[in-house]
Amino acid sequence: MSLSGAQVMLECLRREGVAHVFGYPGGSVLPIYDALYDCHDIMHVLVRHEQGAAHMADGYARATGKVGVCLATSGPGATNLVTGIANAYMDSIPMVAITGQVRTTAIGKDAFQEADITGITIPVTKHNFLVKDAADLPRTFAEAFHVARTGRPGPVLVDMPLDVSQQRIEWSGDQYPQKVDMPSYRPTTRGHEVQIKRAAAAIAQAARPVLYVGGGAISSGAQAEVTELAERTNILVTTTLLGKGAISEAHPLCMGMLGMHGTAYANHAVHNCDLLIAIGARFDDRVTGKVDRFAPGARVIHIDIDPAEIGKVRQPEIPIVGDVKTVLQVLLKHVEPRPAGEWNEQIEEWRQRFPLVYPRDGGLYTEAIIEHIGEATEWKAVMATDVGQHQMWAAQYFRTRAPRQWITSGGLGTMGYGLPAAIGAQFARPDERVVCLSGDGSFQMCTQELMTASIYGLPLIVCISNNRSLGMVRQWQEMFYHERYSHVDLEQSPDFVKLAEAYNCIGYRVTTLEEFRAAFSAALEQTNRPVVIDCSVTGAENVFPMIPSGQTVNEMRMHTRLEELRSAPNADPEGWSYDEEDQKLSQIVDAGHGGARKEN
């Protein structure tokens, strides 16, 4: 059978089990869109801006563990993807981005809508390909998906010139490689047994150990192993922003997030620990602050699939290169049970002394909104956030129960990510409730994707934490720039309710917590229409605790009203319980999606 390159490409996507492609057409991808016209098994989602397509593919990948796919035309279409690709790269998210390119004969001639997208994306992709002959398509796509999903996951870009998409080749169906073998790319997944045994011995010896768990545990699908390790040894766990869900945050051994806006008790625990067990975490500067004062007295065990992460920031005593799940399974064979001791009590004391607080005075605080979203959805909602204060509050107050339930932009911190990522997640998990928490600033960066959500009838709930400012930047100006509020005022914003309606979504504006609760429960009734809730929150609030950039726990700033608020009732609300359902939930997710990368 003779097929066009574009049709061959679709065959390749089929072989990779791709069900959704997020894209936007244009001249150089016309053959691909022509092939899509006859394609009924792969759903193409028409976005409103290519950045949205990339973030949707990213959100889809985070929600499932599968490779997200986006598609754009050459030139501006391709460059519009770049932010989304960089975002996925920073957070190690598996993605294949397909771009059109001008004809091979026109490349390098400044042809209409030519952009050197493989050149542009070298620094932000795990790898990229420029296809010059349709006969290379099967191998290229097999390699692209293989590289994206294995080892340390990441985005891969495939650039397809127009003439390659048009070129006809003979397709028998068995050209697609059964197995990919790339001699120069063979990630190590099984940790070194000797080092693993040393790690077990170090755990047995430690008096004040802490588990520091990151995004690698999520991409590895290792919630069960992380939880088992914590429970068997009674070692408390702190997660990074991207590790949220690696253990249920309702688990009594979970201290929540560490770092700049992490909980004080997690930061105190890390600062004072004598053994730091880093699992799929990369010692980011938002976590470490001043590197040489981070866990200063600790021996370090570092488990990471990327050898370059080991020793990049902190030299570990026990390096283990390998896949988190695989390594922990071996480690668990060597680790002995260990009772909770004084150290656990010390951390509990910190937890009591330095709880997360906000004024529970019935005012509309973003923290209260987040807790309500959790409670109203029994902490089952998939939560996608934008970037800023609301994101940090969500990190603190949204108690993620399962992996892949928490979707946020960590490394790049991309405002505008939340809405399209939520859309991607909703396509991936149609039967689950997806909520997007955004800010009045962030929301305006990809608002146009409301149209995508509404056309496809997604029952998304978008809550805008509207503090009438670029709150996070405002906070920094208040704290570090002498309250010189320079260009952070968003008093002039569109009417978000009307805007929602203009996109054929439902819009509510709420000014009290009561109103929010009512609007949210109305939103939960929706099954095929997005709802936008514009929440006019108490403005000029700051996120605490905060360790200022490059500093240490000693400089951590606590909530200015900590003393008074700590004793307020409801400091530990209902719904904060860890039950059997938690365990089941995580296992379902692990088996269903998280294991997708395990086949290599």
């Binding site: 001699p183 120069s184 020793g311």
Partner: protein, 174 residues
């Protein structure tokens, strides 16, 4: 193909000669050199050429930095999909060579002295103009620096160096 990028010559820490075997694909040089620029590593020189295997190119990179920097460089290079192998020649016996062409002023009264320098360094004069010679010299970087310094008083009009290439001694291969 032999390409030389010449970076800043003030390199902190030790100098390392690393050999990088890469798949012979277009664009692979951009990936490697871009990595150095992006991560702020100091390249002293970088040469690329074909090898005994037409599918493989060989880059020799002279780079400065301490052990930790070098370890990161090696690991980051290994992450590039098209990089097959990275070898640090600082660790074991290797021969290293560089070739330079130096165009030096050669007034009649200076010629004897220049020719003597050339002799001592086992260099060669490959072009003799009325007022200038082109001298070809191969050797380690030190040797070339040395002859350059000796010729400098005569006035060096132009100099080009290939950058270092290296090979392990004995039967060992990269």
């Amino acid at each position: 193909m032999a390409l030389t990028l010449s970076g800043p010559s003030s390199v902190q820490g030790q100098q390392h000669i690393i050999t990088v075997l890469v798949e012979n694909h277009p664009g692979v040089l951009a990936r490697v050199s871009g990595l150095f620029a992006r991560r702020g590593y100091n390249i002293e020189s970088l040469t690329v050429s074909i090898t005994e295997n037409p599918d493989v190119s060989r880059m020799t990179i002279v780079v400065g930095g301490d052990e930790l920097v070098l370890e990161q460089i090696t690991k980051q290079l290994n992450k590039l999909i098209e990089v097959m192998r990275v070898v640090d020649y600082t660790e074991f016996a290797a021969v290293e060579r560089e070739l330079a062409l130096i165009k030096v002023n050669a007034e009649p009264r200076d010629r004897a002295e220049i020719m003597q320098i050339v002799e001592v360094f086992r260099a060669r004069i490959i072009d003799m103009g009325e007022r200038a010679f082109i001298i070809e010299v191969t050797g380690g970087t030190d040797k070339i620096d040395k002859i350059r310094d000796l010729l400098a008083p005569h006035g060096i009009r132009e100099m080009v160096r290939t950058g270092v290439i290296a090979m392990a001694r004995g039967s060992r291969t990269a």
